[in-house]
Every structure is written in structure tokens, then in C-alpha cells.
Symmetry: C2
């Protein structure tokens, strides 16, 4: 079949705040084919900047936009996804944003191919890599922001426990901003609210920059509350600082990797940063294949792979297919409290089942359906003119 | 003084081809202040994608555009440039294109500050870093594309020699695409055209991907023509392949680094790729400061720093200030055959002086003036609408 259209859609809530809440807007990518099959993907990135990568005028042979790379191409199987990814990334060699932007298209291509071949994406990945194709359930952890105070954090944690969550990650907000005592009080509140049986994770939101000494001290201080990990204490580029931190074997394990815009960045973080949990967003790193490659690298290094997902359950679907066949990687970042937009984006979100676990859908492609009616009110139509040309006009949703 | 306006301008030639010629379009950034002083910078990147980083609507606290970060800010000295860079990059943490886009603004900030303090940028850098502040001349190498055939390449090389060039780099085009014999014939033609006294460099234009074995064989085969370096034989992300290549000590030294979108990418290439020439584009890596930091890293590692410059002499000015105070780094990539646009962009391009060398201008700031009259015909006005808002309307040049 042939690709006939590649359309990005910028969706957003009416009011956007500076909170570290990635569900306030999104960029969806729809790929249509001449057979009537269509696939969808989601990018975790600036919608406008990524959209520009779909339509930017050519600058030379290394700056050619994604639409030009894909429209009119043949796509019949997984090999075509690989071939087209190589083409799109090569054509965009000098576009820094290429991986962020292409992620949505790559995920949509897998969705299309899975539907055509009538298989879930995870099975296509298993066939391609010659690995086991049994899907295992995951333990979802709720991913929430710290409250502004320890008391507010305690209330959030208590509510999550009442909702049945056995694991929760608390992040950003006041963490790291008001001294050690407050940091410890925040973690204590999270632990006490969730109870001793639950898993808790701490996301420091890059607050200590390259200060691995303070990070080490916090890790030691937090260890009395037994968090599963301390996440992103340092800047994504501070690989040497991560290395200096992890070689001291802090009492809490270190997680990072959501800032990996390329496979190499994740590899660099694993090999030279020495992290023990690598967190990959398929909507940033270039889609499902580079995420799967990082999963394989994590397996080789004996560390944990975890998804990073802070958009909708469309992103969650893509994330699940990447690592659902590895039973050891049993934790799942699970968007639990996102915006109305993120909650209405697909027709049937992934439920937390009665055993407290989340399962991939045994359906063709990603296995989820976009609720176009529900999200149409959130569409922010984009129009871009360069010189006398309209290089982007909004397609209808 | 206060920053009152930050304006990107998309300029382009009437016809754009797929040739590896980065001078067919450009993105300039103008920063204006309430004192009437204004500065300019140039980005080597997709103009539209980078422009979007100046105006994209906020997504959350990690996706805030460059204009929002800079307009209204105070800027009185080099410390303010550092502070504003930190702010802009932190605000754009989740914008992959942030370094490509911010480069132009950062260079423009240095231009403003240099004018205000009445000093060339290189002296401000020397003061800041406590290093020598004597500017040394550079040997320009003409940077040209291979001809389509060895014969065409010989003609190009002969013409460069007649023009007085004592060094020239030949790149891209047919290199690596038609087998070993043709590759060798291309290099022989370059050498014979330039003569035995000249320096020649070979730019393979990432043609061998991650194939370090073929690269090694070519390096050995090319060594009979004594090229100064073999440049970018492999993909920018193929760090392990670079490491495998360089640890065999090929008979021609290896150069790379123009694809460094961040300081860490350059560091990764130096430390783990083992290259001997690191080539940095101040218009990609985030501006003058990260380039200067790579220069310092090169000094620590005992390897060579070289500029990557394939835009106009505005970019050349920024490039020069970064490394003009180190006499050992004596080569300069010198745009010699760019588009009419690139040649008309500043009022007084850097001449190759009678001794065959190029010198930085001992004038405040970057030391060059934009020829706004000359480039106005190349302006491609941009307009971007998101929802009912015009998020970008073209300012006048």
C-alpha cells in the first residue's frame, strides 16, 4: 500500500500553565494509506516546533521535511518501517528536532502495519528480533507531581492509595528548592501516605544540575523511606556527574533517560552515566524502534527499562508494545491524572485491572482508537506561510 | 540596558537544490536593546524549525520559547549572556531544537555586549576565562564540493590553486558512492590540482554510516596523497564506530564534530570517538560559549579545534572569535564559493590577506555589519497562526 497523507494535529487545553504537566497539549500524527487503513502516533515535544519538521522548506540535501520523505512511499511490512525511518532521519540529518518530530510518524507507521498484518505491534517486534512474543502484565505506577507542601503531598499519596495504586512516583514541584529538611519531609509524606507496602519513586526534575554531591547526600537521606529509585536528579547532559554519582553506589538506585532525544544519548547515559533504570519516551527518541533498541541494550547491561509516558494512553500503547514481552521490566509509568484532553484522547483507555495490573491490548497495531469527536474541540489549527507559500494548512480531523 | 526585541529572519535563494550547500538559505537573529545598540547572529539549521523555537506557544515549564526567555531582560556584560543562556536553555529543556535555534540569539547577545563594552568578543572571552587575548591569523582553507568526476574535481582544485589557496577541503558529491577506485581517483585529482605544497582535506559526508572497516581501508588508501584529515566518514551518532576506527591509528587523521548539537555530543565524540580534529559550528551547538568550551576541551586533550562554517561571513566572524587566541589551531574553514545571498550578507567580508591569512576584525562585538539593503530581496516573510493567534508575524528588516 502507499502512504497518501501525513498529518500533524496540534491539540491543547484552553489554559496552559508552567506546571511540569506534559498533558496540557500534544501533537498527534495521522498517516493515511490508499487502502483506507490509517495509523496514529503521539509526540512528547513542542507541538509547533515538531509540526514545522513536517513542512519546513528544503534547505539542502540534509534538511528535507518528514512529509516529503514519506508521502507516496510504499509500506507493506516492518522492513518498510525501518527503511522509511532511515530515509526520514537521513533527510533530516541537520534538523536537530528530527527525532522528536519523527516519533509520532514512526509510531503511526507501526500502527498501520500492525493493522494490515492483523497483529499487535509487540508481536511484530518479537518476530523481527527473534525474541519471545508473550505479553506480560505490568504494575502501573501513578505519576504525579509533589504537592506544594509535605501536607499536600501526604493528601495526594493517601488518595492514590485509596484508589488502589500499589506504586506511585512523586516529582518536580518543591523538590530540591527549599533545602534538605523540606526535601526529606516531602519523601516522608509520600511514603506515609502510600503506606509501607507500596513502591514509591522520587523524581527530582533535574533540580541539582551537575551537583552530584548534593544528589548523593539526598539519596542517602531518602533511603530510610526505601524509594524504588531517585529519578533525574541531574541535567540530561551531565553524564560525567551521573557517572560520579553512580560509582559511589548510593543507597537508592538512580533512574534517568527521559531526556534521550537519540539512541546514543540513552546509550551514553547507560554506559557512562551508570544508571540502573533507563526511562525512554517513544514519543521523543524517534519512535518504537529506537526505544526497543534501548530496551535490548538495558537487557545486555542487566539494568531496568521503564517507559516514560506523560501524555495520553495513545503514548502508553506505544510504550507498552516496546517492552511488554520482558517480564523482568515489570513497572509501567501510567498517566493517571492528566488533562481532560489526555483522558478523552482514545476511546478505551488502559484500565488498571482487578489484579492491579495493566495489560497490552491483543488487537492489531497499537490496539487503541482515537476519539476524534471528543478531541476536535481541542484542535488548534495551524497555518504557516513562508514567502508567498502556505507551507502548512490544517487538515481536518 | 534592556532587550526590547528578538527577531529571526528567514532568508533564501530563489531556487533550492538537494546539493550539500548550506548557503542556499539562512536564519539570522537580530537582538535590539533600549539603548539603540543591536546585535546579529546566524544559525546553521532549518530556518523554519528554528524560527518556531522563537515563538512556539508554551507547553509547560520545560517548553517556553526563546523570545519569552529574553525580551525584557537586562544585559550589561558577559555574565548576563551566561545567565540568559542558562535561562533560555532551561526554559527549552524539552525542545530538541533549542541549541540550533538559540545559537543565533547567543551570538547576537555577544555582538551587543562587545559593542557596549567597546571590545571584540574574543577579548571578552579571554578576560572571562583568564587566557591570553592576542589574536593570531589563520590559514583559510577553501571548502568546496567534489566535482562529479575526478576530472571535474581536478579543474576545481586547479582553480583554487590559481586563486592563491594553500589549503582546500573537498567533500560530499560522489565520494563513497562509486567504489574504492573512484574514491581514490577523486582524492588524487584534488591533490594533483592543488599541488604538492598545499594542504588538502577530504570530507566524506557521513557516507559510510557505521562501517568503520571501509573507512579504515579508505584512510589507508588516501594516505599516499597526504590529506590533513579525513572528515566525517561515519554518522554523527556512530561513536562506537569512530572509536573502533581511531583506535587502529589510521594513517590519515580523523576529523568530525560538525553534527554536535550540544556540548556533550562534542565531548562524547572527543572522549569516546577518539577524533583528532573537532569541528564545531557555533551556529548549531548553542553559540559562542559552548564552542569555546569545546575549544578548551580540545586543548586539554591535545587535539585540534577547527571551526565548521558553511554559511556566511557573519558565521565566520562568530567562529573566529572562539579560537583566534590559540595559535596552534591555525586552520580556518573559509566559505569561499557560497551563494549570492551568503556573499552579500555582510558589508565587508573577511579578505584573504596578502600573506594568505585571515584575521579577526579588531572592532567591537563581532566586528561585522549586516548589509540589510543587499539582503532584503532574499527575505522570506514568515507568518504562523496557531488557533486564532498569530504567534509569529514578520518584523521588518
Amino acid at each position: 500500500m502507499k502512504i497518501t497523507a501525513v498529518d500533524p494535529f496540534y491539540l491543547r487545553m484552553p489554559d496552559i500553565t508552567t506546571a511540569a504537566d506534559g498533558t496540557q497539549d500534544t501533537l498527534l500524527v495521522r498517516i493515511q494509506t490508499d487502502t483506507g487503513l490509517e495509523g496514529w502516533g503521539e509526540c512528547d515535544a513542542s507541538p509547533l516546533v515538531s509540526l514545522a519538521v513536517y513542512c519546513c522548506p528544503m534547505s539542502h540535501g540534509n534538511i528535507i521535511n518528514i512529509r516529503t520523505s514519506l508521502i507516496g512511499e510504499t509500506i507493506d511490512g516492518p522492513d518498510d518501517v525501518l527503511r522509511l525511518s532511515e530515509k526520514a532521519l537521513r533527510n533530516g540529518l541537520d534538523i536537530q528536532q528530527i527525532q522528536h518530530a519523527y516519533s509520532g510518524a514512526e509510531i503511526a507507521l507501526w500502527d498501520v502495519i500492525g493493522q494490515k498484518l492483523n497483529k499487535p505491534v509487540y508481536r511484530l517486534l518479537a518476530e523481527m528480533s527473534g525474541t519471545a512474543s508473550i505479553a506480560h502484565p505490568k504494575l502501573p505506577y501513578a505519576s504525579v507531581l509533589f504537592g506544594d507542601t509535605p501536607e499536600a503531598t501526604h493528601r495526594i499519596a493517601t488518595r492514590l492509595r485509596e484508589q488502589g495504586y500499589r506504586a506511585a512516583k512523586f516529582g518536580w514541584g518543591p523538590m530540591g528548592k527549599f533545602g534538605e529538611e523540606n526535601d526529606i519531609a516531602l519523601v516522608r509524606a509520600a511514603r506515609e501516605g502510600m503506606g509501607t507496602e507500596a513502591q514509591i519513586m522520587i523524581d527530582a526534575g533535574v533540580v541539582w544540575g551537575s551537583d552530584h554531591e548534593t544528589t548523593y547526600q539526598r539519596a542517602e537521606a531518602f533511603s530510610q523511606f526505601s524509594p524504588t529509585w531517585l529519578e533525574e536528579p541531574l541535567a540530561p547532559d551531565a553524564i560525567d556527574a551521573y557517572g560520579a554519582l553512580t560509582c559511589r553506589n548510593p543507597s537508592v538506585r538512580i533512574a534517568a533517560g527521559e531526556g534521550s532525544n537519540t539512541y546514543r544519548m540513552a546509550e551514553d547515559m547507560i554506559v557512562h552515566g551508570g544508571i540502573q533504570f533507563v526511562q525512554i519516551d517513544a514519543g521523543r527518541i524517534g519512535g518504537i524502534i529506537p526505544s526497543f533498541q534501548v530496551r535490548q541494550l538495558a537487557e545486555q547491561h542487566g539494568i531496568h527499562y521503564v517507559n516514560h509516558t506523560f501524555k495520553s494512553h495513545l503514548s502508553l500503547a506505544a510504550a507498552l508494545h516496546v517492552f511488554v514481552t520482558n517480564p523482568d521490566f515489570n513497572l509501567l509509568e501510567y498517566p493517571a491524572a492528566g488533562s481532560e484532553l489526555s483522558q478523552r484522547l482514545i476511546t478505551e483507555p488502559f484500565p488498571v485491572e482487578s489484579d492491579g495490573l495493566v495489560r497490552v491490548k491483543e488487537l492489531p497495531g497499537l490496539g487503541v482508537r482515537i476519539d476524534t469527536e471528543a478531541i476536535r474541540p481541542y484542535l488548534a489549527p495551524v497555518r504557516i506561510e513562508v514567502g508567498t507559500d502556505a507551507v502548512f494548512e490544517q487538515s481536518s480531523l
